[in-house]
Symmetry: C2
Subunit: 193 residues, 2 copies
Amino acid sequence: MPSSPSPRGRRPDPAVDAKIRSAVMDLLLQRGLEVTMDEVAAHAGVGRASVFRRYATKRDMLLDALAQMFDIQIAIPDTGSLTGDLRQVVVDTLAAWQDDRVAALSRQILGETGRDPAVADLVRTSMRDRMARTWAVYDRAIERGELRPDSDLWLLTDLFAGLVAYRGLLSLDLPDPDEIVRSLLYGFAPAGR
Amino acid sequence: MPSSPSPRGRRPDPAVDAKIRSAVMDLLLQRGLEVTMDEVAAHAGVGRASVFRRYATKRDMLLDALAQMFDIQIAIPDTGSLTGDLRQVVVDTLAAWQDDRVAALSRQILGETGRDPAVADLVRTSMRDRMARTWAVYDRAIERGELRPDSDLWLLTDLFAGLVAYRGLLSLDLPDPDEIVRSLLYGFAPAGR
DNA sequence: AAGTATCTGATACTGAAAGTATCATATATG
DNA sequence: CATATATGATACTTTCAGTATCAGATACTT
């Protein structure tokens, strides 16, 4: 089958695409998910109809923007020890939540997962991808004997992600990175078991 | 100052109060937070105005309903060991999330937390109260030497609450209760540290 | 008993915002 | 040149929260 049925009339203007995309990103960071389509069009300097020609619904527009946002690479630490690597991940994550705008938007996105399964899908997939990319850290740790080989790594990562999400959503302070790492690796029972 | 300035006209009908309250609870479980005020009035068999006379905004109405929901007592286990007590808490919590309607509503409430600070306040306060009520479990455990005396108990409880909230929001399966308890108490490092 | 304030259900109105429709104009294919 | 689609502008439709008004009911005050 022919891949391009040869488009007939005037082609969509890529400049308009770009203007809309960047307006959405801008407004998302400025004012969170509660943005009106008129605002987007106005901020992009573009006709309202052109926005709706690209996205059938506001939800589609936001999903596209969120997918972009999650599509940023994350650094994989290699400090030589699991404690060091984990600490790095924790510190980086906590640092991101320090930015008020990032924190506010993260809260809203997490919140949206509770109402829209498609957002939940997006977040779930993105988080899993991201975490799977740090698997190297755990592989090395198991080789070095710093991690039980039978560890449920998803549980490990989700305990941390969950803590951040939960406290973030409720605007509770996050504890010291070392405290977190220690709890995850050694638990709350007294030393020596 | 006089406590009651003596109300003049017709008094609000307690029966109407009750009908509205129960209609809200009903609809919340049936259809989640996305309920219209007309539906509430209709389902309660009550005039629309009577709803707005009691709650200035829909938000107020929902906050009142949520406060009621959180105001249910939770059993405090005392099995004789921290492992047993914790396991009980975990099992009970996971059981609640098994009910699809409870899960869906919990997701939505957690989600609302990301958009409305008042909801976040309510949830935070309720969760803290509830968890503080289980403090006895940890006091006993510390006495028995099953828990480090310097433990950050909020971190312990929030690691668990966070895991449930995070996986619940994203509709991910929760692990085996024993697995959770073991991770919290002993961590992911190999035995013997 | 009279007077007045407030509740009650019913109904209509206002305003915001998503989504649809239409139009004149611009730009691309054939 | 003919046709098809994009563009911005503008107006319309629908849904829903919140407001306003009304006639009738109820309870307090004098």
